[in-house]
């Protein structure tokens, strides 16, 4: 395929046929590789179709996120045969080599030849927060090609669970029995971040105990929130913690699934659909606001990239930096020099 620019790729991705998938795939590469392109894309995507739901899945390593994602895709495809669904699977990059082994797809290969399912693996690329730069752009491209739902899987370590919450409309924390006790959950901050909690591997011993423990913890969190709002500190609405489909599914928060046995998946999708029905308008507005924040970080990322380049290659800067190392130069002077030279290089290269 010849090197195409953003507008051509956008046009190509909107058509049908094999080339459309290529264009969409290429667009995703552009926005994940180049912050400028991400900014361009975010600026032009407001008119595009958008997914109804962007669901983040996070949680302890090996808890079954990929397998669960695979089953959710199956369930959505069965319920809405005409609709497309997107999956973004993020795995960590090695901080030492920059390389990554992206293996989530292994669990999802049954959908590989389904033209209605678009799966994209991303490496976190050393971003603080563990989520690849450009995830928002990839979500938008999935909207562009007609995905009704987008699922984002990310490892629940580091800060990724906090960041996923900023990229998704809803965040599901996926846990499994035998993967550490409740205190570890609290430490990891997963409780605060989850809109939904899924205890997967319910076919295993210990699922019921984990459920009871989690339920108690969620109730405690709710009580604290409730107290705060009673004191006028916040006005967060607190829902009852419910466990099953028998109550209003848009309020249910705790789910038991066995991705392996395909149990509890339908109930989970019921709840997701109910929530989407209620909240999709609000989510749309929130996504618009996030674009602003995303564009800001794209600007900052580009500034950083250029500044690093100056810091490493500009002779005058390198000289000052060496003096800084020897204690003969204040830091501020080096910063000023970097900024001056970065701008100087930019204006001389555009002329």
């Amino acid at each position: 395929m010849p090197r195409l620019e953003l507008p051509e790729l956008v046009r190509g991705a909107r058509q049908s046929g094999p080339l459309a998938v290529r264009c969409a795939g290429r667009l995703m590469s552009l926005v994940t590789d180049e912050p400028q392109r991400l900014a361009e894309l975010l600026a032009m995507c407001r008119e595009w179709p958008q997914p109804r739901l962007v669901l983040g899945l996070t949680g302890s390593p090996g808890s079954g996120k990929s397998t669960l994602t695979d089953r959710l895709v199956l369930e959505y495809r069965t319920r809405f045969p005409a609709d497309k669904i997107g999956v973004i699977a993020v795995d960590p990059s090695s901080p030492f080599t920059g390389g990554a082994l992206l293996g989530d797809r292994v669990r999802m290969m049954q959908h590989a030849t389904d033209p209605q399912v678009f799966i994209r693996s991303l490496a976190s690329r050393g971003r603080l927060g563990g989520l690849a730069l450009g995830v928002k752009g990839v979500v938008r491209v999935m909207g562009l090609v007609g995905c009704r739902v987008v699922l984002i899987e990310t490892v629940g370590v580091g800060q990724s669970e906090v960041e996923i919450a900023q990229h998704a409309d809803l965040t599901a924390v996926v846990l499994a029995p035998g993967q550490g006790d409740g205190i570890q959950l609290l430490k990891a901050g997963l409780l605060e971040v989850g809109d939904l909690f899924v205890i997967n591997k319910a076919d295993r011993d210990g699922a019921a105990a984990l459920q009871a423990q989690l339920l108690a913890m969620l109730q405690r969190v709710d009580l604290v929130r409730h107290d705060r709002s009673a004191n006028g500190v916040t006005t967060q609405v607190c829902h009852d913690v419910t466990t099953g489909p028998e109550s209003d599914p848009s309020h249910a928060r705790l789910f038991l699934t066995s991705a392996r046995e395909h149990l509890g998946i339908a109930e989970l999708v019921d709840a997701l659909e109910a929530r989407t029905e209620v909240a999709q308008e609000r989510w749309r507005t929130e996504r618009e606001e996030q674009i602003e924040a995303e564009l800001q970080s794209a600007v900052l990322a580009e500034i950083e990239r250029r500044a690093i380049c100056t810091l490493r290659t500009n002779a005058a800067v390198v000289e000052r930096f060496d003096r800084l190392l020897g204690g003969a130069e204040p830091l501020a002077a080096v910063v000023d020099e970097v900024l001056r030279r970065t701008i100087g290089d930019a204006t001389s290269s555009t002329k």
Partner: protein
Amino acid sequence: MFGPRKPRLLIAKPGLDGHDRGAKYVAQVLRDAGFEVIYTGIRRTPEQIVATAIQEDVAGIGLSLLSGAHLLLFRRVIELLHAQGADDIVVFGGGTIPPKDIPLLESLGVAAVFTPGTSAERIVERLDELLCVPA
């Protein structure tokens, strides 16, 4: 970490046998050399491999083969890529491929064939060349 980013690759294991030691080893070698490697698992069909490669927009596909059906599988993957307008994706392979078949594979469009015993350095070096990663 700050060098130019290396391209994304797909490592796939087509065919009926379930031995993926070789495929996983190569995937790890490439990861350690800085590539982003998407691994698909065992027993994948050429259709699945090509559809995956296109969605993932990879620069290269590596096929690990032990089953003896290498000619057929390579040919099919290359045909499918062509049909999808994706001839620019580089195809390479490894496994128990008889040396006499290598020229034939190359004439089909397979860019490199790594036979058992090829060193990790050699694989990385060759892929760096093929995928134009500046040293």
